[in-house]
Symmetry: C2
Subunit: 118 residues, 2 copies
């Protein structure tokens, strides 16, 4: 099955996890297509000035993989810059958040999967 | 946890699934970090002239999401061009394969996950 770009669902989320501005989720793989695995399999576009607020994952984990732009990640007690090719893994029970720290879109792949071995 | 680009494992596979040339798998999320979900969570770089041969998935499914370049996808009986933003879902039991149909790298995200609801 092929889904063309124009048919990929895009969700515009305002103040994502109490973050700033708008964030766009391009849900290229839908949760119902990945039954029992998780709820987010998306490309996430965080425009300059926007962020995803600091939040916890419970019963699930999230992986970010940066494609474009510059991010400022809060990962537990650490704050660090993320650049293309870098990844962040937020395990079950942990917190993270990310903001665009540059002048261009911050683009990343985000996967939120259930903690099957918990 | 943060893994920097230089620490992301890169596998160079020659004749991937009996395809042409070399294909590079950037395994940004390792299978052991996504326990019980699947075996591939990667960025795949298919240089011009290279391909992943036509192959079947059994007990698992695979999703491709194109980031860059132009691909020629064989999806069961169909052959179609894939461009950035397009996705292909190969369900449990089905076949697919993809070749670079352009002059620049074909770059995609590939997820191979277990068929949990089979």
């Amino acid at each position: 099955m092929v889904r063309r770009k124009e048919n990929v669902r895009v969700r515009e989320v305002t103040h994502a996890q109490n973050g700033k501005g708008q964030v766009f989720f391009h849900d290229w793989l839908l949760p119902e297509e990945a039954a029992h695995h998780g709820r987010v399999f998306s490309k996430v576009v965080i425009p300059a000035g926007s962020s995803i607020g600091y939040h916890q994952h419970i019963g699930e984990f999230e992986a970010y993989y940066v494609l474009e732009g510059k991010g400022l990640l809060r990962d537990g007690e650490d704050v660090t810059e993320l650049n293309p090719g870098d990844m962040n893994l937020c395990p079950d029970g942990s917190f993270h958040g990310i903001e665009n720290a540059g002048d261009t879109d911050l683009v990343l792949i985000a996967l939120i999967m259930n903690q099957l071995d918990g």
